[in-house]
């Protein structure tokens, strides 16, 4: 609980500070003390008057004083009286004042408490909230019990805004009286269970401040938090993501630890689909929980990764960074890469944001080089960058340098070297040095470049180059004597101490390579010894000692001279060194034991320095944290725990009431990393301003005003008012989008059958899955099989409703019963077998172009074996030559973004004259963009493309007529397209029309109760978007066609095609 302790201390600190503060405040005004005093007097008068505008004027001036940091505490008594003011403006300003000074005048502050207690019962939620806010902000320990009571009341307030304020009050109360912790944790527990997006962010914030280690409170809310995440306000998102990162590190296994084992039998689980289905089959998995099985990602772990991904698109840099660190710390290696793009985007932002992002990127690049390589150029330095940004960019460029990119980077560095900012040039030269040392191919080039810089006119540049060259030469000293010579010469001109020291050290170290120059250099240095800097003097001593050992004849005397000079130096380090060297090199008496080894001691080969990134050690901190920025532990920082060796029990995250539909919705949704807005898309049409507001309250709590109205309405007039039904429908479907609707309502007593019925009945087209379990609830056995086929990869056996019923709360049970009764009348939308399967195939590869090999493709309209979002296509290869064609496979794929293509297993050989069919799956993402790919044989490649007819993007579904019309009414406006056509009389019968329609598109007829109206339904394979076609045959063979689909492009195309098809003679 370092956190709590820290904040408590901090508070003591600052309290100490604030007692000192009045002096500070009055000091500057001391000169005008009498005038000031008078001024306060008239302020008091104004506050005492009974005119609001005078009071307001006075309060404004007082707030001005507070804002400037001047002391206004002597007005406390006069101000606090006005807390009862009716004028909201005055009141607000009094609050501001009160919060600032209550701590200092506790007794007087107590006078205001009664007002707040009254305000806490106000019907207006904003007044309640602000009363709670101020009450909790005045730091008066005496009122802790009152605050506690108010807090407990507010936590169950029906307004989410008040509950949010309550969450904020928790840390305040805690810092005032840490002994309340246990009670407060109970409050937090309640708030964490809240389903409102407005509240959860603040609840998690309170959790983080008080008890970040109580993971047990999170278990039950984990999935809810993941699912709500996209809709939480930005600041809450940051807090939640950070908390979930830590949670994931304690609850899930390291996704990267078992890479090796994973390779062994990849086929079993390497497949993404497989993984998905694994996730769905949660209950099953629990039973078998294989302890020693190869790594399999926990479905909850995956859920977190999936639901955070869309947040990379947030406009808030803090959110993007939070997601990036989440991926860095808990995602499998292969997936971390996708955060790079978002991080690079942040570099366009304000300079402070750049700075923080760059320093995090710098750390990332030390570990994950490849991730940022494509964005190399984004890190090029601009002259307008502030110095700290430049240095970070250099760091990153250096970290990113590889054999391939080094030439670009070096060219870039060359331009930096000419910059007028000397610090930057120095940093660049060091960066060049690091590149040279890490990439051996360019060491030589860099060295030459640096030597070139030695003739630069700027001394700093030369000096820095010398230092870097020294380091480089140390790594490979052979064959560079001419550089050493050159540098020795520089010693005459260069004055920067560090550079001189480097030169001397180098000449001493490699004196055998420059035997003539070295003694001469020592001579020159000795002459000027007393004027040198300390660091240079030390190196002169070193040089003298080394030369004395290797070349005593010439340098013995010189060395004695230098040592004598050093003996009387002011700096005792130098005196010490001199004494030490004298004993080793030229002892007064006979050579001691050490003296014999002098050569070994001085001329031992030294290890080359390792030039490492200065960000190497920053990896120990959690990315994006303050501690990471300052590279030291900030108070309140708790290090990320390591992944556990064995995963803790995953069942703790199960919510007591397993709501099959709720679970399913989440799972299915989570499959697509998409933002689910507060309102589902259907709402666009059916929802008005008023109920869009209500849907939030309905999703949160059944108590709020608007909702109860809504309830009562649908209760009383459920059949008479179709519109209100629809309203309830859409609002409830919207809530089921983001959270389990029924879960959220479980404790609401006012919930009644007419209200729940539409909620369950009308599934929004996209959330098809949410209806499925319900259907299962009705006839589990028969449909389950179908289900398995239809969503083989995503669906899972659902716990039988009977068992679910056992644990349901009474109200829920009744819900469920109501549901099953209602369900008798309507059939859910379910995928069915196609009505018609075309046998005609299209040419993919002509045998002339294919040099004897031809290929045809055909849409089989089945369920794709690879993935449910793919359109199955059958490819038939025919070999028209005599000789066999071998190794037929799919080569490069040039697909539109988002599209995927599942290849067929390679055909090893196709005998002459033979033919063979294989099937592939293409996820067209509901567009008619052609899929371009190559068919490769052993020695040839052919570019081919498959363009799907629009009708093949669908899967036939069956639904009831009532459902059909309900859905249709939602897909109006832009999502509706219609046209007129005249059908030739001989074809104007149901059979032909149905046949033609199913030929055209993979749709199924919907049983129609009216003559002359034919309805067909389907859904897109990839996105699961509903498609509804209505053909209304009127008199004289004219027919009107209506197509409803959310995908507008497809809508209009279909109308055209249907027209053509039906008008065929």
């Amino acid at each position: 609980m370092s956190n709590g302790g820290g904040s408590y201390n901090a508070q003591n600190d600052s309290r100490a500070g604030s007692t000192g503060e009045p002096d500070l405040g009055t000091e500057p005004t001391g000169g005008f003390f009498s005038a000031d005093y008078k001024k306060h007097d008239d302020l008091k008068q104004m506050l005492d008057s009974n005119k609001d505008n005078l009071k307001l004027e006075a309060m404004k001036r007082i707030v001005g004083m507070v804002a400037k940091g001047k002391d206004a505490s002597d007005l406390f008594a006069a101000v606090v009286k006005n807390v009862v003011s009716k004028n909201i403006e005055v009141k607000k300003l009094v609050y501001v004042y009160l919060v600032r000074y209550a701590e200092e005048q506790q007794d007087l502050a107590l006078l205001s408490i009664a007002t707040f207690q009254r305000a806490l019962k106000d019907p207006n939620q904003l007044i309640r909230a602000s009363a709670l806010r101020v009450l909790s902000s005045i730091r008066v320990p005496v009122i802790v019990p009152i605050m506690m009571l108010a807090l407990k009341d507010s936590v169950v307030d029906m307004s989410p805004y008040v509950r949010k304020t309550a969450a904020h009050a928790i840390p305040k109360l805690y810092s005032l009286d840490p002994e309340q912790k246990d009670q407060l944790i109970q409050v937090i527990e309640k708030l964490l269970a809240d389903k409102t997006t407005l509240v959860v962010g603040s609840a998690v914030m309170a959790f983080e401040e008080l008890c970040p280690d109580r993971v047990d409170l999170i278990h039950k809310n984990y999935r809810k938090l993941c699912n709500l995440l996209v809709d939480v306000e930005e600041w809450g998102q940051v807090v939640i993501i950070n908390m979930l990162t830590r949670y994931a590190r304690t609850q899930f296994l390291d996704p990267n630890q078992q890479d090796v084992i994973a390779d062994e039998d990849k086929n079993f689980y390497g497949d993404e689909d497989e993984k998905d289905s694994e996730e769905e089959e949660e209950d099953e998995e629990k039973e078998k929980t294989p302890p020693k099985k190869p790594y399999m990602m926990d479905p909850d772990h995956r859920l977190l990764l999936r639901n955070t991904k869309p947040l990379l698109q947030s406009r808030n840099a803090a959110v993007v960074m939070a997601v990036a660190q989440l991926y860095h710390h808990i995602a499998p290696k292969s997936e971390v890469g996708l955060v790079a793009k978002a991080l690079v985007r942040l570099l366009r932002s304000h300079r402070e944001i750049q700075h923080v992002v760059l320093s995090n990127v710098a750390t990332l690049t030390t570990i994950r080089k490849g991730m940022f390589e494509p964005y190399l150029k984004s890190f090029f330095v601009r002259p307008s960058d502030p110095i700290h940004v430049r240095t970070l960019k250099l760091e990153i460029l250096t970290n990113l340098a590889t054999e391939t990119s080094i030439s670009t980077i070096l060219r870039e560095f060359q331009t930096y070297v000419t910059s007028s900012d000397k610090d930057f040039v120095a940093a660049t030269i060091q960066a060049i040095g690091r590149c040279a040392s890490s990439i051996s191919e360019v060491t030589e080039t860099c060295l030459n470049g640096l030597v070139g810089l030695l003739s630069n006119r700027n001394e700093y540049v030369v000096a820095e180059s010398v230092v870097v060259i020294k380091k480089l030469l140390q790594m490979q000293p052979d064959s560079h004597s001419e550089i050493i010579q050159h540098m020795a010469k520089l010693a005459d001109t260069i004055t920067v101490p560090m550079a001189r020291a480097s030169i001397l050290w180098m000449v001493g170290e490699y004196s055998d390579r420059v035997p003539k120059i070295a003694p001469d250099l020592l001579r020159k240095m000795a002459k000027n010894f007393i004027n040198e800097e300390d660091i240079v003097k030390l190196q002169i001593l070193n040089l003298a000692a080394k030369l004395c050992i290797t070349n005593p004849k010439q340098t013995k005397l010189l060395c004695q001279y230098v040592l004598n000079l050093a003996k009387y130096d002011q700096n005792y380090d130098i005196r010490d060194r001199a004494r030490f060297i004298r004993q080793l090199v030229s002892p007064a008496g006979e050579k001691g034991a050490l003296g014999k080894h002098a050569k070994k001691i001085f001329l031992a080969s030294k290890p080359a320095p390792v030039l490492d990134s200065s960000f190497k050690d920053r990896d120990q901190w959690q990315l994006g944290s303050l501690s990471h920025m300052i590279n030291q532990q900030a108070s309140g920082y708790s290090p990320l725990p390591d992944f556990p060796a064995a995963a803790p029990d995953p069942t703790v995250r199960n919510v007591e009431v397993p709501m099959p539909w709720a679970e399913k919705t989440h799972k299915k949704k989570a499959g697509k990393p998409k933002k689910e807005a507060f309102y589902s898309d259907e709402e666009e049409e059916s929802e008005s301003e008023s109920d869009s507001e209500e849907s939030s309250s309905s999703s949160s709590e059944s108590g709020s005003e608007s909702e109860s109205e809504d309830d009562s309405k649908s209760e009383s007039g459920s059949d008479k008012d179709k519109k209100s039904d629809e309203e309830a429908e859409s609002s409830s479907s919207s809530s089921s989008e983001s959270e389990s609707s029924s879960e959220s309502e479980s404790d609401s007593e006012s919930e009644s059958e007419p209200d729940t019925k539409p909620q369950k009945k009308a599934p929004p087209p996209k959330t098809k899955s949410s209806t499925k379990p319900k259907k299962e609830a009705k006839q589990e056995v028969s449909l389950l099989d179908l289900d398995d086929i239809d969503v083989s990869s995503t669906s899972a056996p659902v716990p039988a409703p009977a068992s679910a019923l056992d644990v349901l709360s009474p109200s829920l049970a009744s819900d469920l019963q109501g549901l099953s009764i209602n369900d008798k009348t309507d059939t859910a939308i379910s995928v069915t077998t196609p009505m018609f399967v075309s046998t005609t195939s299209h040419e993919l590869l002509h045998r002339m172009t294919g040099e004897g090999l031809s290929a045809n493709y055909r849409f089989t309209r089945g369920t794709c074996i690879y993935s449910t979002s793919m359109v199955p296509v059958e490819l038939t290869f025919t070999n028209h030559t005599d000789s066999p064609v071998s190794n037929i496979r799919i080569g490069d794929k040039k697909l539109q973004a988002g599209m995927t293509l599942q290849e067929f297993p390679e055909i090893p050989s196709l005998p002459g004259g033979g033919s063979m069919s294989v099937s592939i799956g293409i996820d067209f993402k509901d567009t008619i963009q052609p899929a371009n790919f190559q068919i490769c044989t052993q020695d040839r490649k052919y570019n081919v493309s498959i363009k799907p007819p629009v009708g093949e993007l669908f899967q036939a579904v069956t639904m009831a007529e009532a459902d059909f019309t309900a859905q249709q009414s939602k897909l109006t406006g832009m999502n509706e397209n219609s046209g007129k056509v005249s059908i030739p009389s001989q074809h104007n019968n149901s059979k032909t029309i149905t046949a033609r329609m199913s030929e055209l598109a993979n749709v199924a007829p919907v049983p129609s109760s009216q003559d002359g109206i034919y309805r067909f339904a389907g859904k897109t394979v990839s996105g699961g978007t509903l498609l509804l076609i209505t053909v209304k045959v009127g008199e004289d063979n004219s027919a009107s066609i209506t197509v409803n689909c959310e995908l507008m492009a497809i809508c209009s195309m279909l109308v055209k095609e249907v027209k053509q098809k039906l008008s065929l003679a």
């Binding site: 901090a10 904003l126 300052i630 939030s696 406006g973």
Partner: protein
């Protein structure tokens, strides 16, 4: 999280402070001043400063340092992003976020800060919500206020906080319904001495001004959405629709806001609309300066508002130049040459040439200064992005007992404007 906030002007005065928890003495800013002294320019101060007991995180905008004091671990970006949001709000309220604006409106500023943070954690940061809680000042109201003595606080308490569209206030009504979209693209480029492109990149934003009654639901579609490589959205945009259909579907906030910012894939070649032919040379005591600007790939559009700036080396004493077009100024203190070219006429290319005089005795600079270019091209988005259509669903005709008013469908006035301008466009010489 955020403990206190200090605002410090360029003279080093702490002219406003606000504390959300207990009061922290303003002496904590001494650490900041220490750090500030070390820096060469105001931008160079490290945004995150660690002191023995506190952590100072600041931003520098509008010549003011906004210094936030934190006492415990907090994501630095969280604080920085929030501070920027605060300044954005000020700018939104007062027209500019500068010192004088803040001082003039200190009561509003204080109230805003009070609403935006509670106990150091952000509470309401959406400008639409804030504007309901605290009315922005305007001239008329100031006059009225001085006469009647009321202030800018909202008289009635808003209900907007509870709307599930947190960025939009309820009950908006306009007589003229209009929606304007500005597609603004900026070219970031580094051009080397030879005129070839070292690095070029297109960043774009769509800024909107939407004044529509009710709760309109808008759908904006593009002719060629695929060129958008990386996007970030205002929270109002439905990410799902974008993923599935590449259309922007959203309930807009009221007023001005940034809908999306995007980055155009780098695989697309960037058409560089202007070229700069610099010829700068230095010798002992002086030098020559000769720069020509010309249009390159402009797709037939006029390049306007061309401004060329060049930060000369410190040894330059003065410059004596003659432009064929426009005006030039040389600031002998900051050593910055600014040449306001205006429009580029392809027939007669603008040119600026003349002599440079250096401080006597000092050696001529070794490197030539980089030139940065500003320009604007109206009615063109350089990436080729085109808005296809904008559809609106503004139906609010449900009768609900609470909200009895109904709107009939209205036809808004819609407009899209394209603009290309130079972002960080630099020519190395």
């Amino acid at each position: 999280m955020i403990h206190s906030l200090f605002m410090i002007n360029s003279a080093g005065d702490i002219f406003m402070e606000k504390h959300w928890k207990s009061v922290i003495s303003r002496s904590v800013c001494d650490y900041f001043f220490e750090e500030q002294q070390k820096a060469n320019s105001p931008e160079d101060v490290n945004p995150v400063i660690s002191t023995p007991h506190h952590y100072l995180i600041h931003i520098y905008r509008e010549n003011i340092y906004f210094v936030a004091v934190c006492t415990t671990e907090v994501p630095p970006l969280f604080v920085i992003e929030f501070l920027h949001r605060v300044v954005d709000t000020f700018t939104d309220y007062f027209g500019d976020g500068g010192e004088s604006a803040i001082k003039d409106n200190y009561v509003i500023v204080y109230e805003l800060l009070e609403e935006m943070l509670d106990n150091g954690f952000p509470l309401a940061t959406e400008s639409n919500i804030l504007k309901e809680l605290i009315k922005p000042p305007n001239i008329l109201r100031t006059v009225v206020n001085t006469v009647t003595g009321s202030s800018n606080l909202a008289d009635t308490l808003p209900t907007g906080q509870l709307s599930n569209v947190p960025w939009r206030r309820a009950g908006v009504k306009y007589t003229n319904n209009e929606a304007y979209f500005d597609v603004i693209e900026e070219i970031d480029a580094i051009i080397d001495k030879q005129g070839s492109t070292v690095f070029a990149d297109i960043q774009g934003v769509i800024d909107c001004c939407v004044k529509l009654s009710g709760m309109p639901d808008l759908t904006l579609s593009f002719m060629n959405p695929r060129i958008l490589d990386d996007v970030s959205f205002h929270p109002c945009v439905r990410f799902k629709r974008w993923e599935a259909e590449r259309v922007l579907s959203f309930v807009p906030p009221d007023g001005n806001f940034r809908l999306i910012s995007y980055h155009v894939g780098s695989q697309n070649m960037v058409a560089i609309p202007v070229y700069v032919k610099p010829n700068i040379s230095f010798r002992e005591g002086g030098g020559r300066f000769d720069v020509t600007v010309g249009p390159k790939q402009t797709m037939g559009k006029m390049v306007e508002s061309v401004v060329i700036t060049c930060a000369m080396p410190k040894v330059v004493l003065n410059m004596n130049l003659t432009p064929t077009q426009g005006t030039y100024t040389f600031d002998p203190v900051a050593k910055v040459l600014t040449w306001d070219v205006g429009k580029i006429n392809p027939q007669k290319l603008p040119n600026l040439r003349g002599n440079i005089s250096l401080q006597s005795g000092s050696p001529p600079p070794e490197s030539n200064p980089a030139i940065s270019v500003q320009f604007k091209i109206q009615q063109m988005a350089v990436s080729g992005l085109k808005v296809n259509r904008l559809d609106m669903y503004g139906e609010v005709s449900k009768s609900s007992p609470k909200k009895s008013f109904t709107f009939e469908k209205y036809k808004p006035f819609k407009g899209v404007k394209y603009l290309t301008k130079a972002g960080n466009f630099q020519v190395r010489t």
